[in-house]
Structures are given as C-alpha cells and as structure tokens.
C-alpha cells in the first residue's frame, strides 16, 4: 500500500472510530433520559376542579375533588398532591402550599384523612358545560396521608388505595368525585394561589407498583400510572361586616279626636295614631307624632260635663307602642292620687289626692271587677283596656297589646255605646290590692303587655269611667294616671 493510501486509511479509521464512539455516547444519552422521565400512560382528566368549602386561610375545610377520567380502565389508586409552586405532573418541585409561612397549617387530615364518596345530587357550579350531578368514585377506598410535613403530624398528599377489584370500569362521560372532609387550608402570609395534582393508578395489586413509590417527579409510567391533571386553588381574605341595631322603645299616650262632622265633639272617640286618616278631621296619622295631649273630661251635659249617679260616663285615651325588645314590653299605670285607706284606692279627688270621694273601683281581691251600678250604687272610678290593634297603612305594623285581666275580663268588652256604656257593656278595674303591685305602688300596676314579643306601632284604647253616688260631694274631681312601658331585651 502506498504511503498516500496509508494516510487515507488511517484518517478514515480515525474518523470511523470517533464517529462510532460519538454515536454510542449519543445513543446512551438518548436512552437514559427516557428511562428516568417516566410519565403516566393515560390522558389528562377533564372538567377537573377542587371545590373548597371555605377560602379562609388556615380554616378547616372540605375539598370536593371532581374529574372526568380520560381512560375507562378500572383504577386501584389515586394520588392528590398539594403543591406550593406548580400543578405540573413530572415537576419535582412541590412543597407544602404554605411552606415557609409564619404559621403553617396545611394538612390533608393527618395520616388517616377522612374521605367520602357519596357524589353530589344537587349539581356543581361548573361553568362550561354545567353537569347535573357527580358520581361518587366507585369502589371501596382506604385513605392515607403521605409526605409528612416535617415532623408535624400534618401531611401534604392524599393517597387512596382501593379494595380488590378497584373502581371497576369507568366512564369517560361521567364526572366522578370524592370529598376530603379533613382538610385544613394553607395559611400563607399573603392569601393566594396554590396547586394540586391528581394521578390515577391501575396496578392489579392495589397499593403496589408506582403508587407505592410516588413522589413529585416520580409519578410512575403507564400502564400503572394512568390519568393525570393539575389544579389551581386560592385562599383569600374574608370581608368582615359589622352593623349595630339599637334597643328601641317608643311609647306614647294620646287623647281622642272627633270623627269628621261628629255631632258630639265633647266626647271624641277616635285614635289619632291608628292610620285612619280619612275619617279623622284633623291630627290623624300613624305614629306618635300625631298624638294629642290626653286631658280627659268625663261627664255628660250640654254646657258643662258632669258625672252623676244616673249613668256611667267615660272618656277615651289611646296608647301606641313599638319595641324591638326580644321579650316585648309591659305597660304599668301609676295613679297620682294615692288616697290611701280602705275604699280610697287611687280614685278621683277634690283635694289633690288626700281623699278620693270617687274611689278607684273596689277590688276585694286581685282580678275581681265590680260593675258600676247607676242610681243606687257607689261612686267609682275605673279603667277598661281594650285589645290592641295594628296601625292602618303601615305595612310593618305588627304585634299585639294584651290587656291584663284586671282591666279586661274578656267578656264585658262592648264599646259600641261609648261614651255612655250600658251597665254590663264593660267591666273596669283599679287594682290596689297590694301595696307593692297596685296602682299606688312604686312602680304602678300592670295594665297590659305586648305578649312577650316585639311589636311595631300597635295601639290600644283606654276607657276611663266614672260614676257618682247620691252622696258624692260636689266639686271638680281630678286624677292623674301615669303609664310606664318597660321593655325586656
């Protein structure tokens, strides 16, 4: 062989050897990555979402995991891994969702999280399109937490392992779900986004194979590792709203006003606060702002009103009450004329209350009412409290006024003959049977209440009656009755 030929052959040999070495090294580098970067062999699950029962950082929560599988193969294992940085399958960077926070709370529920598989019957608010229901993941499942976060007893990853037989064949048209009820939200220093990854497994021996060695970036490969997908979730601030409602009690008394065109203006009988404005000449309204001064003149006659033994004379006042007290209000009456002594119980007096020649109606026992008999009976002064009624035209008017039995026995309640009732139309009271609870006591006597409930613009008529006897001294008799409402909040 010539020297030239030898040179050519040596160069060709060198080139061939180098090329062979290069190709070999290249093949090795091609083959090696494939065997390291395994990847699930199925497909990406669709319509996947994790519904959080609350977005409050650090709060206990239920996470409903829902997805449509990409494969129909029966599965024997599920991994749901929660990550701080990435939902990407194969990314070894994961980390607990609140890793590094001032107070780390995230947990799937310890080593034995609680998971339910009932599905949802009322539908999920999935946007495009909206399914009617989800189906609980079939099969029997054992849940465990893996990837303990430090030595805290908190775990980052949920592992589900089925019983023998797995889930059975799945439908790619069905959204399956399971709920992790033992979750605790992450508590990032700034509420925000975190992620999750789901991988399903099909090993014929549940719990074996790729799922047993699961780690981010080492999810396994097909056919053992099947379907997969990523999620994004978010915690956020709570909107804290505060509003105050004050305890309220509105109570007023009013004189009556005459009906428009009334022939008896001396004996007005209408409530100016009850909303019946169309029948009221003036001052009609639906609240205490329409109240008139309750100066009552009891009696009959053309020029001057007088009382006598011939009839019972009356004059009406009204009260209205509104309160938001949870247990409503009690209305008590305190008589200005003490008139202490037998038979002189808070009646009408000509001497400023020292003596009551027209006494409060005689009550020998609590609750007993005595009719006022004209002509031959005793002089008497008493009160009848009518049942409450709502204010016309006020849609929010609600509640009741319930008279005390001492002032309304429930039977003698006829008001049609007012201002001159018949003897048995009405029964009256002026309870002074005990020093501590009567109209002359420190706090007065209860005449009504609101039925242990709040009320709004409820009215009631107060009919004050008087009759003289044949021996009642002449004079101008007066009395003052103070009504006190007390709310129980």
């Amino acid at each position: 062989m010539s020297s030239e030929m030898k040179r050519i052959v040596s160069r060709a040999t060198a080139l061939f050897v180098a090329l062979a070495l290069g190709v070999s090294l290249t093949l090795i580098s091609v083959l090696t990555p494939s065997s390291v970067h395994a990847f699930p062999g199925g497909g990406q699950v669709q319509y996947r979402a994790i519904y959080m029962s609350t977005s409050v950082p650090g709060a206990p929560a239920t996470y409903l995991v829902s997805f449509k599988p990409a494969s129909t193969t029966s599965i024997t294992g599920v991994i749901v891994d929660f990550c701080q940085t990435s939902p990407i399958i194969g990314d070894s960077n994961c980390g607990s969702p609140d890793n590094g926070a001032t107070t780390e709370t995230f947990d799937v529920g310890g080593a034995t999280p609680t998971v339910t598989f009932a599905g949802t019957s009322s539908g999920l608010p999935v946007t495009n399109p909206a399914p009617a229901t989800t189906t609980g993941l079939p099969g029997t499942w054992t849940a465990s937490g893996i990837d303990q976060i430090g030595a805290t007893g908190r775990y980052r990853t949920l592992k589900l392992v089925s019983g023998a037989g797995g889930s059975g064949a799945l439908s790619t048209s069905t959204i399956y779900s399971f709920a992790i009820t033992s979750m605790k939200n992450p508590k990032q220093d700034t509420p925000g986004t975190f992620y999750a990854r789901i991988i399903t497994y099909t090993n014929s021996t549940p719990g074996s194979g790729a799922i047993s060695s699961y780690a981010p970036g080492n999810e396994g490969s097909g056919p053992d590792a099947l379907d997969y997908g990523g999620f994004a979730l978010a915690t956020t601030n709570t909107i804290n709203i505060t509003a105050k409602v004050q305890e309220t009690l509105t109570f007023c008394t009013s004189g009556a006003i005459p009906e428009s065109g009334s022939l008896d203006p001396q004996h007005p009988l209408l409530d100016p606060m009850d909303g019946s404005a169309t029948t009221i000449a003036a001052g009609g309204g639906n609240s205490c702002t329409s109240a008139t001064t309750p100066n009552l003149n009891i009696g009959h006659g053309t020029n001057a009103l007088v009382i006598s033994n011939e009839q019972i004379d009356t004059a009406s006042a009204f009260m209205q009450i509104s309160t938001n007290a949870t247990h409503g209000a009690v209305i008590r009456m305190k008589a200005g004329n003490s008139c202490s002594g037998t038979g002189n119980n808070a009646g009408l007096s000509v001497d400023g209350g020292a003596n009551c020649a027209i006494p409060g109606i005689d009550n020998t026992a609590a609750g007993q009412l005595v009719t006022a008999t004209p002509n031959t009976g005793n002089a008497a002064f008493g009160l009848f409290v009518n049942t409450g009624y709502l204010t016309t035209g006020v849609s929010a008017s609600t509640g009741s006024i319930v008279p005390d039995p001492n002032y309304n026995d429930g039977t003698h309640t006829t008001t049609t003959n007012l201002p001159t009732p018949l003897v048995n139309d009405l029964y009256y009271g002026m309870d002074n049977t005990t020093d501590t609870l009567g109209v002359a006591s420190t706090y007065g006597d209860k005449i009504a209440d609101t039925g242990d409930a709040p009320c709004n613009t409820v009215n009631a008529q107060l009919v004050f009656a008087a009759i003289a006897s044949l021996t009642t001294p002449a004079g101008i008799y007066q009395g003052s009755e103070n009504l006190i409402a007390t709310g129980t909040f």
Binding site: V17, H37, N237, I239, A396
Partner: protein, 264 residues
C-alpha cells in the same frame, strides 16, 4: 501518536454534533409543548422573543412578530397562543379587598349601604365561579332577613342583600362621607371592570346579582363567573341594610367568605 490525535479530534467533533442535535429533542415530562413522543421547551417559531428581560426593578417577557397571541376558544375547545408571554400552567388568582366594613347604626328610617371589591383571573381553565358561602349578618342566632329574589330597597322592612353592579343611591340612604353611606350622592357600587380591557377579561355577575337597584342574598349562591380563561375582572359588591322597629337590638356581624373555583 498522530493517529491518536486524529481520533481524539474526530471524537470531540462527533460529540459536538451529537450534543447540538439534542437541543430541543430531549423528552421531558415538564416540556412546555409536547406530544406523546416529542416535545420542546422554550422554543419559539417566529421572529424572536426575550424571556425575563430584567433590570434591577422590572422584568418583562417580550415577543417579536408572533402571528397570534392570546386566547382563542369555541364552545368546546380553547387554546392559548403566543410566545413566552403566555402562562402555561393552570392558574387562578383571587383577591379580596375592603375586608373590614363598619356600617354603623341601622335604623328603620333609612337604608344603610356598603361596598367591597374582589378580583379574579384564571388561565388554562374552562371558566370559574365565585360563590358566597356565608350566612347573612347575624346577631347571636338572629339573622337579618335576606332577600330571596332581586328586590328594591324598602325602608321600614327588614332587608339584607347584595349585587355586583352599579346602582343609584337608595332613597333616604346617607351619602356624606361616613359609615353606611353611598359612594356618591347618587351612586352605589360599580359595574365590573375588565383589566386592562374587555379583550382580556370575561368575568360577569350572575343574573340574580346583576340587576341594577335590586338586591338579594342566598348563602351558597354563585355571584360571579366566567365561561373561559379570563384575565383580571374587578367586581364591586354593593350591600344594603334595612331594619324595622322590631329588628332585635345588638351587633350584627357577617364574615363573608367568597370561594373561587376554576374548572380545568
């Protein structure tokens, strides 16, 4: 010796050729664009682009000559087109502002109001929903009456409700600066804002919470949503409060929890 040098030279050359041939052809699970047998990362077919071009205080991702950028979608399919400016992983961002609101003292003669804001964006999603999962304001066990259908404010009736649109200030509602007042003398709340504009954001209030001057509240309701991936939508919640003379006295509180869920 000479032969040895030649072999080494050729070997080095071969390795360089082999290494070059593998740029963009290594199969990795976290490749940004891939099929089952081939994938690439950070490869742009186009005129050019820059990833994370940064100064000390500002970074940007830039593209040059991309023929199409952004979201394209039909009823059943959507794609995110573009270079490195487009995020490539499922994502949701949910922010709530105005987190502490004191409405002041409620009464039966005026409507008290309040506003709060939240924003949502989500990528690579089929959409999102925002639910309100809290009960209405409560005083112990007593809850303010929540409107069960879109209803106008009515003084003297106990009401609590919200919406996510611009409204006129309810009559008798206070409007000077202070607790429980309207945004201005004539307005309460605001319509949604798509940021930076409507070609990026697609969130909207649901029907029951999107009616001007009508309010309602039902625990668990979806109040806002999007039917696709969406840039930032900024929502304003408007609240109304009315009481009656029988509304129990006390302090009413509501810790309103909003939950945003994306479907991917």
């Amino acid at each position: 010796m000479v032969l040895f040098r030649k072999v080494v030279s050729a070997l080095i050359l071969s390795l360089l050729v082999a290494a070059t041939g593998f740029i963009g052809s290594a199969y990795s699970d976290d490749l940004q664009a891939k099929s089952s047998t081939y994938g690439v990362s950070e490869v742009q077919f186009g005129s050019g682009g820059v990833i994370n071009s940064c100064s000390t205080t500002y970074c940007s991702n830039q593209t040059l000559g991309d023929t199409g950028v952004g979201n394209s979608k039909s009823n059943n399919y959507q794609v995110q087109a573009g270079g490195n400016v487009t995020d490539r992983q499922p994502y949701i961002e949910f922010n709530v502002a105005n987190t502490n609101i004191d409405v002041g003292v409620l009464n039966s003669s005026s409507t008290k109001v309040a506003t709060a804001t939240f924003s949502v964006k989500t990528y690579l999603a089929g959409g999102y929903v925002v639910q309100t999962v809290s009960p209405p304001p409560k005083n112990g066990s007593y809850a303010l009456h929540a409107l069960t259908s879109p209803t106008s404010p009515s003084i003297g009736n106990e009401q609590f409700g919200i919406n996510l649109v611009a409204n006129s200030c309810p009559s008798n509602a206070p409007h000077p600066p202070g607790q429980g007042t309207c945004t201005t003398a004539t307005t309460l709340g605001a319509n949604r804002q798509q940021l930076p504009d409507a070609s990026f954001g697609f969130g909207y209030p649901t029907a029951n919470y999107g009616q001007t001057d009508k309010f309602m509240y039902k625990q668990g309701d979806i109040v806002a949503k999007s039917d696709s991936s969406s840039g930032t939508t900024l929502f304003t919640i408007s609240y109304i409060f009315n009481t009656t003379n029988v509304t129990p006295g006390g302090t009413y509180t509501m810790n309103q929890i909003l939950v945003a869920t994306s479907t991917f």
